[in-house]
């Protein structure tokens, strides 16, 4: 009886891992299809075949200078790739924080990084800085906010480190929010205020090749440690004491998660503005597909987040005559999905 049921569950585990691999491959294919589709859509429509041919030609070293190449490599692909990077970044940061804080309702801005980056960016708009400087300022204030939050939590030295960290994030985040409101009041209502409002709702309009070149290494730099420590980060979801007793250096792993997630969120926000819901909802969808293990949720979230934002951004730039802010679209889609997740009425989050 025993060996039989043990054998049965070994088989079960094998199908489990097998299933995960199939899901991840399927998500990767969906992402590739989304990238191709998004590159084809736009005011100057291209056939997916044309896109594939142009990319293949470029990959094999030849450079052409037709209108297709200009549209594709100067305008459309940078934006599509930026969407993929930002979507992957926000979803990965959300999945990491949800696991770290053992709370499925946490999003990447839990420690105030979005509010901090938002404050820096709108300040840059108020000061009429060039776009690159606005992005840099947003990135720096986003990182600085989390450093302040972390320092504050350390200074308060509580038994419950996680709780103090989250509360410090709320406090510093709302201060940054107040700063944003102040900048809005001070801003020129005809030129600056619309720019600020649009930025705060998230947009990838005006992305250039140089933006992608700046963002990609930083996002990858943040994703690599999360990928390497994937198993230990998952163990952290059992709580500090259990994770320590299981052999995890909790303080180190937690520090790496916070630093990495902050880096990729600040990078994403600085280039795209504040885009809500992705970091909250995508990890839930990933858990529905591959279960709650972080080493599976992370790659699934990265692939889904990337594909999701690529498709959403395609809608944002093609559905209407004006650009629709990304934050609006993600909210319109994210809110009902989240309600549906809540309505599934599970005590624990799968």
């Amino acid at each position: 009886m025993l060996p039989n049921s043990a054998g049965c569950s070994v088989a079960l585990a094998r199908t489990d891992a097998h299933r995960t691999a199939v899901v991840l491959i399927a998500l990767a294919v969906i992402l590739l299809a989304a990238l191709l589709l998004a590159s084809a859509f736009g005011p100057y429509p291209l056939a997916p075949g044309q896109v594939a041919t142009a990319i293949a030609t470029r990959l094999f070293g030849a450079t052409q200078s037709g209108p297709i190449d200009t549209i594709l490599f100067q305008i459309r692909l940078p934006r599509v790739l930026a969407a993929a990077l930002v979507g992957a970044a926000l979803a990965a940061a959300g999945a990491s924080y949800q696991t770290l804080f053992r709370n499925p309702l946490v999003s990447p801005d839990i420690l105030g990084v979005s509010a901090g980056a938002g404050f820096g960016a709108v300040l840059g708009i108020l000061l009429s800085l060039p776009v690159l400087a606005i992005q840099a300022l947003g990135f720096i204030t986003g990182l600085a906010t989390v450093v302040v939050v972390y320092g504050l939590a350390r200074a308060l030295r509580s038994q419950n480190e996680i709780l103090v960290l989250v509360l410090a994030g709320i406090v510093v985040g709302s201060l940054a929010g107040a700063g944003i409101s102040l900048v809005k009041i001070l801003a020129d209502p005809y030129n600056q205020l619309p720019a600020i409002t649009f930025w705060l709702l998230g947009s990838l309009a005006g992305i250039k090749v140089s933006d992608v070149q700046a963002v990609a290494p930083l996002v990858i730099l943040g994703l690599v440690p999360l990928g390497l420590l994937r198993w230990r980060i998952g163990v952290l979801s059992l709580g500090d004491d259990e994770a320590k007793a299981l052999g995890v250096n909790v303080r180190f792993v937690r520090g790496v998660v916070i630093a990495s997630a902050t880096l990729i969120t600040a990078t994403a926000v600085s280039v795209s503005g504040v885009i809500g819901w992705i970091g909250l909802v995508i990890p839930h969808m990933a858990r529905l597909l591959v279960g709650p293990r972080f080493d599976r949720v992370l790659p699934a979230s990265v692939l889904m987040g990337a594909a999701f934002l690529v498709l959403i951004d395609t809608v944002a730039r093609t559905a209407a005559r004006i650009e629709i802010p990304l934050g609006l679209l993600t909210a319109v889609l994210g809110a009902p999905v989240f309600v549906w997740l809540l309505a599934r009425g599970r005590r624990s989050w799968s």
Binding site: L2, A6, L12, L229, K244
Partner: protein
Amino acid sequence: MLQAANLSIGYEHRRVASGIDLAVARGEVLCLLGPNGAGKTTLFKTLLGLIPPQAGAVTIDGRPIVSLARAELARSMAYVPQAQVMEFAYTVLDLVLMGRTAHLGPFSAPGPRDRARAHVALADLGIADLAGAEANRISGGQRQLCLVARALAQDAPLLVMDEPTASLDLGNRLLVLERVRTLRAQGYGIVFSTHDPDQARELATRVAVIADGRLAAYGLPDETLTGPTLSAVYGVAVAIERTESGRHVVVPRASGTSP
């Protein structure tokens, strides 16, 4: 062997207890008793290296645990917490696999060998068929056994169990106790906290009673779990009675009789 020598325990500015000496060797079960708030949990956390001792030392085979890396410590001593419902819907197998963490490289996830070890641990406890079940949806006793399986998968010779039978119904409690006895026979050294002196008497090779900031009693079960000691420690009059089958049980003492 796990040993505490002249140990003082507590949190930063608050001392909970001091002068604690105890030891557990392989094949022994040390039962830890004490009133609520006496410091059982604090002592557990200190033994596990989760909080530093205020004075004295906890050693494993002569080496102070503060000098051991987390993973090294985890390969010597496994912790079985009280089973609780978790935020994430892990399967039993996933949970048991987490016991392998200390044996993995820093950047690795469990492989086939770890999965095989996890299945053996589940089979040892008679819950192999639960591997694929969601850990939040099995009975409390099964979940507790699942955490014991995780500790076994950790391949540590010492098991530290925090009231593993609390909040379990009679059937589940007897099931867990039965498994603990088997583990003792297999040579594990076990520290086991409980609120039930009768359970301690059945299970323990040695008993430590913590009360009033010190080790109120430490020794063989029959020497420590006496009517006067328990009455003094818990502040209620109790006596030890012998049942027809020869077992000793703690009963409330009727007023007017002597211990």
